[in-house]
């Protein structure tokens, strides 16, 4: 179990995540601009909106350029007959084992951004937890969903 899972998620995930982050950061930027305007009318010291801008700059750099890349590198998954093995995390790396017999249902989901890249997110739910494998190529996600739900179809053994 010491080896990390083998498969990576789609490389387009980085682009898709970057677009999402850009949208979030633009909204935040509007707030920062608003703080300049409000500051102008209420005579705030100039350092307040300037700090906000600086914080925004650092945040934007991290969120748009660094984190999606690291996140993509970390995300690994592997589906065996008996269990699903997932690795993710940026500062804290976590590796999760989900036995097939515990899987209750599998979903695939796709938002507008992922759709542009033909990607979908796959989520696996047990009775107590939810696990995600994000940004898989559409067809692969569908195939994996069918495969998992097939494998999970074991005799019901009370939850």
């Amino acid at each position: 179990m010491r080896q990390p899972p083998q498969h990576r998620i789609a490389e387009d995930a980085i682009k898709a995540w970057r677009i999402t982050e850009v949208i979030v950061m633009v909204i935040l930027l509007l707030l920062v601009i608003a703080s300049f305007i409000v500051g102008h009318f209420f005579d705030w010291a100039l350092w307040i909106p300037l700090t906000a801008l600086a914080v925004w700059g650092v945040l934007a750099y991290l969120m748009i350029f660094v984190i999606p890349l690291v996140r993509w590198r970390r995300w690994r998954y592997e589906v065996f007959d008996q269990e699903i093995y997932v690795q993710h995390g940026i500062l804290i790396v976590s590796r999760t084992l989900v036995p097939m017999i515990r899987v209750q249902h599998v979903d695939t989901k796709q938002g507008p951004i992922l759709k542009r890249f033909n990607l979908s997110n796959l989520t696996v739910s047990t009775a107590a937890t939810i696990h995600e494998i994000p940004a898989l190529p559409q067809e692969e996600a569908a195939a994996l969903r069918d495969q998992i739900s097939e494998l999970a179809r074991v005799d019901e053994d009370d939850v």
Partner: protein, 475 residues
């Protein structure tokens, strides 16, 4: 036998009114306190009176419209005033049937019947708030007849003796003594007193105050002591009432628990719904080796709040556990004698985590309010103490089938779970952990409605890997 649709006992109306008022009590209380003695108070009182009449009428109609019967192996319930709701619950789907008797129930020889299926709803699937006790038992017999439950009491004379355990009075007393409920009661009394103060006439209040202030210190201490002991006795009484006559019986496929002096509760726990068992020791109980034994079960068992634990035994000593489990729940092996401690390298993480916020507070206080430096200092010392305790408590142990994890927030909690009840297993490692060769384990279980995640922080990484090999089904 019960194929005719029938109504609940008329007392159900009382319970429904009481239930509505219970929800409104704070609003009413606030109203009474705010306007007491005012002219407005009359209107408020009238309002409450009117509300009572309306609610009672409403409850009566509700009662008239509520019917239940058992037909074709199904419990059928029809209810609702404007929106009619029919609910059919198949006998095979029923997981447990609990009978609860409150004080009023007991006076009128009634019982409340709560029926649970495996569904994950927050509420009980079906609840009959008042039927006669004999009928309650009949319902239970009817709905369970294809299962192996032998009815208690009547069958005691039969050859099959099912193992059972009862609580002794001494134990009950110890449970009350160490329950820590006195703290809660003291708090309530203080809050209550600050409100009641308004109703005490000024002159009487002043007189009492001046008498108190002029009395000798010894007398004051004595008085305080008397009050404290009285409150403590009240706390013990509470525990005695709640857990008095506690008895757990092991049937073939389920556990049967009865408890309570005033409010009598009977509940069944099907064995196959048990997800894990745990032993919790509060700081007061741990030095004496006492603790409570509880189970994590799938689906709502109490039909109550999510954190209401289901006790297998309200107070038991650690060294008695193996014998207890052997009689009542032999499916589980006893808790391990000793758990494997986590490595020394973990100390740093435990101390820092516990002390971080108190230290931040200390620094802030030293800057802004240096004259109360001792408050955060004590806090920091306590936090470090807690960190040390947590580190000492943390431990693990596993064999073929069972994993035991011990950890502490404030109370020490040992959770024992079967391999096939663990929903997911996670190994977490930060960069700092990696350097030290440590990792955190997170094990997910199913309990009442969602999951419970047991974390053991900073195990040795090699051990975590061994444990994940143990959990992995892929050999």
């Amino acid at each position: 036998m019960m194929s005719e649709p029938r109504r609940l006992h008329p007392a159900a109306v009382i319970f429904s009114v009481i239930k509505i008022f219970k929800n409104l009590i704070y609003v009413i209380f606030a109203g009474v306190i705010a306007w007491f003695g005012n002219t407005t108070f009359m209107y408020i009182a009238l309002g409450i009176l009117g509300l009572t009449i309306i609610l009672t009428g409403f409850s009566i109609v509700e009662w008239l419209r509520f019917r239940y019967y058992i037909k074709d192996d199904e419990l059928r319930i029809e209810q609702g005033i404007f929106v009619r709701k029919h609910r059919y619950i198949s006998k095979n789907r029923i997981q447990s049937i609990d009978l609860t008797q409150g004080v009023i129930h007991r006076i009128l020889k009634l019982t409340k019947v709560q029926i649970e299926t495996a569904g994950s709803g927050l509420e009980t699937e079906a609840s009959l708030s008042a039927v006669t006790f004999s009928e309650g038992e009949a319902i239970r017999r009817e709905l369970k007849s294809n299962q192996s439950l032998v009815d208690e009491e009547q069958d005691e004379s039969e050859a099959v003796e099912y193992p059972k355990r009862q609580i002794s009075f001494n134990r009950l007393f110890v449970a009350g003594l160490t329950s820590g409920s006195v703290g809660v009661i003291v708090g309530l009394v203080f809050i209550g007193f600050s409100e009641i103060e308004r109703f005490i006439p000024d002159s009487a209040y002043d007189q009492a105050m001046s008498w108190l202030l002029s009395s000798a210190v010894e007398l004051l201490i004595f008085l305080a002591l008397v009050v404290f002991i009285l409150l403590y006795a009240l706390g013990i009484l509470g525990t005695v009432i709640k857990f008095g006559r506690f008895q757990i019986t092991r049937y073939d496929t389920e556990l049967f628990i009865t408890r309570g002096l005033l409010e009598k509760k009977q509940m069944t726990i099907p064995l196959k719904r048990i997800q894990a068992i745990g032993f919790k020791q509060s700081l007061i109980r741990q030095p004496f080796g006492f603790g409570t034994l509880y189970v994590e079960i799938a689906g709502g068992a109490d039909g109550q709040s999510a954190n209401a634990r289901t006790y297998l035994f309200p107070i038991i000593r650690y060294d008695e556990l193996s014998q207890f489990l052997q009689t009542v729940l032999p499916e589980y092996e006893a808790f391990p004698e000793q758990v494997q401690a986590i490595p020394r390298k973990a100390n740093f993480f435990y101390y820092i985590r516990a002390a971080f916020f108190p230290v931040v507070a200390l620094i802030a206080i030293l800057i802004f309010l240096p004259f109360v430096w001792y408050v955060p200092t004590i806090l920091v010392l306590l936090a470090v103490g807690l960190g040390i305790l947590r580190r000492q408590t943390a431990g693990y142990s596993w064999d073929d089938q069972q994993l035991t994890l011990a950890y502490r927030d404030f109370s020490k909690d040992m959770v024992m779970m079967k391999h096939n009840r663990i929903q997911a297993f996670e190994k977490r490692q930060s960069i700092l952990h990696k350097r030290q060769g440590l990792a955190t384990v997170r094990v997910s279980l199913l309990n009442h409605f969602a999951g419970r995640h047991v974390l053991l922080k900073e195990m040795a990484e090699s051990e975590v890997d061994r444990l994940s090999d143990w959990y992995s089904l892929r050999k």
